[in-house]
Amino acid sequence: MRRAVGDALSLPRAAYDRRPMDLRYTEEEEHFRDELRSWLASVLHDVPPVPDDHTDLVARRAYDTAWQAQLHDAGYAGIHWPAEFGGRGSTPTEHLIFLEETERAGAPYVGVNFVGQLHAGPTLIAEATDDQRSTHLAPILKGEHVWCQGFSEPGSGSDLASLSTRAVDDGDHYVVTGQKIWTSFAQVADYCELLVRTDPDARKHAGITWLIMPMDLDGIEIRPIDTALGSGEFAEMFLDEVRIPKINRVGDENDGWRVTNVTFSFERGTAFISEVISTQRLLADLAAVAQKVTRSSGTAWDDAGIRRELGRLDAELDALWSLTKRNVSQAQRTGMVGPGGSVFKLAYADVRKRMADLAERILGRAGLAIGESMDLSDLDHVGERLYTLTLTIAAGTSEIQRNIIGERLLGLPRER
């Protein structure tokens, strides 16, 4: 209902619903933050540094799952999972605080637990049978089971629904043959959330099924793929007549596309919180580096263009932090974020890539080696510069995000 202008503006103060926008945290939220801070302070000094060797995934798994177990014992595992499934049942704002504080404190990142915690787990909560839930959910939270994602294929990237890994019905089993790619951490995973084609004759979205695949079955071959950064978490996975029990199907046969998309309803605007906080730290460090890098006269900092770009990026990160709070607030009120998530991802990726360009300008020839500080910094600005290349590709390319924004948010017609 549209109110007359006069009504809207000349409401007496008492009648005006004083629940306007407010960025301050409530007492309960501050209490949650204080408790978390104390706990982090008490445990983090005993947490060893991240294993040096990026390619040693066994060590990486041991490290990440040990932290997950610690979170679990302290009651912080599955912060956003409903309490009835072993989670903490926190509000989106508490989830924001959790991610903010753990990142600021330098706690380990979710790492190999990413798919289990943030994708497979929530999907199981929404769609799995009671048996499947009791088998899988608790071990994810305790850091006992690591999951990987078998979605993308060499021929099905942005057009994921065209996937062709075939599942043939064989009584109480599916016999699965095909190839998956970008199955990060598959080498050390216990389970895979696997999308397969169960009906090759149906419309592409209507013939897909979602399966739980134990990674110790016969017929699974994993080959690592080296990244441009030189890290080894990427993998491709070849499936040759892998027999997966039908009791491992989540949701109905041929209903896998809907099951997959259910996970998005768990998105609460929190996806990039750790990244934004760590990026702010990187930027502050870059400002310090600029003051150390000498030029023909003075330092990189003396260049007004560099200072302005540092300031602009600082402003944009600050705005993205505010946008995070808007998305989280929306999730808190409505339970969903919607295309706001795509907007965030697009803008964040752009900021990171421009920051990487600025790092290149500041570092000069010190930017010619990865993973070394050259006495300028403890952080790896060169590695980060390479990492930013993934931000416009992974989890939906920026081109796909722009399609989503254009079509769903702006209502522009589809090209196809």
Partner: protein, 325 residues
């Protein structure tokens, strides 16, 4: 924490949008380029409470916060409402008649040498701002030269060879508030411009057909539109955060949040204006289509109440301070 508009804030936005659509339709707005500020419509803005929104009820104002002001100014920017909206709002309570619309107030930062001043000939009083405070001078006392062809046809400009001292109406603290609040309100206007330009471009992309389909179906155009709304939503978060912080409901320093908003606003409004021109093709470069009006206003506001480059330099200095060992 709740960073969503309340129902009443949304109702306020709708109410102002209805006023703007009804009384500041584009023909009425464009007419002011030739006829000068429409005082009747200006008074209607005042009667609605636009200029006295943040003035306390005890002082005859509406008694709302800067968050509400941001919501209102966003709508004013979106519909290209012309005139010294920011200065007159800031002057409410300082300059008699500003709040009720009977006195139109322009403002300028004190410079040595000639000062180029927006809206001067439309205004009754000029407020001159410097680090020491605020000074006012009656416009008829100034020797002002009009410029025949202002960059934005709806933002006329005059040059004053040398600014007088004027009458002191506020101290250094009042000047700091003036700048800070003015910067936020300008950013809110720029948010509105970015939204208006995006709406115009998206509407055209849906309607204009080439190669047998609406141009908005082509990714080259669709993606440009997506970039426009992305800038808008990031900017909206920054502007609302600044406004909320000015109300004392934030978690950061007001100076910082306002600088962030203004830096983003200048960039986003200009970029959305340019994209709007581009999406209209040849029509975008015509006087008839409104695209250029959004872009030109964006360029005007970029220079008002703190320019992006200066503010970015200040943020960088703070960043270096915080990052130091």
């Amino acid at each position: 924490m709740d960073f969503e508009l309340s129902d009443d804030q949304e109702a306020l936005a709708e109410g102002v949008a209805a006023l703007c659509e009804g009384r500041f339709d584009i023909d009425a707005v464009r007419a002011m380029a030739d006829n000068g500020l429409d005082r009747g419509r200006w008074t209607e803005l005042a009667e609605t409470g636009v200029f006295s929104l943040c003035l306390s009820e005890a002082d005859g104002g509406v008694g709302l916060g800067w968050a509400e002001a941001a919501v209102v100014f966003e709508q004013l920017g979106k519909t290209l409402v012309p005139g010294p909206l920011v200065a007159t709002t800031l002057a409410a309570g300082l300059v008699d008649g500003a709040a009720d619309g009977s006195v139109v107030v322009a403002s300028v930062e004190r410079t040595t040498g000639p000062a180029v001043i927006e809206h001067l000939g439309w205004a009754d009083v000029l407020v001159i701002v410097d680090d020491d405070g605020l000074a006012s001078v009656a416009v008829p006392e100034l020797d002002a030269t009009p410029h025949a062809q202002p960059l934005d046809p709806l933002t006329p400009v005059w040059t004053v060879a040398e600014l007088p001292a004027g009458d002191r109406i506020g101290d250094a603290g009042a000047a700091a508030s003036w700048r800070l609040r003015g910067s936020m309100l300008t950013a809110a206007l720029q948010l509105g411009l970015a939204i208006g330009a995006t709406d115009l471009a998206v509407a055209y992309a849906k309607e204009r057909e080439q190669f047998g389909k609406p141009i908005g179906a082509f990714q080259a155009v669709k993606h440009r539109c997506a970039d426009m709304i992305t800038r808008v939503e990031v900017l909206r978060a920054a502007v609302y955060a600044a406004a909320v912080t000015l109300d004392g409901n934030g978690v950061d320093e007001p100076e910082r949040t306002v600088a962030v908003a203004k830096i983003l606003a200048s960039h986003a409004a200009a970029m959305c204006g340019k994209d709007c021109v581009q999406i209209h093709g040849g029509m975008g470069y015509t006087w008839e289509v409104n695209a250029h009006l959004f872009l030109k206003r964006a360029w005007v506001h970029d220079l008002a109440f703190g320019d992006g480059d200066d503010l970015a330099g200040e943020l960088a200095r703070e960043l270096a301070g915080n990052g130091a060992d």
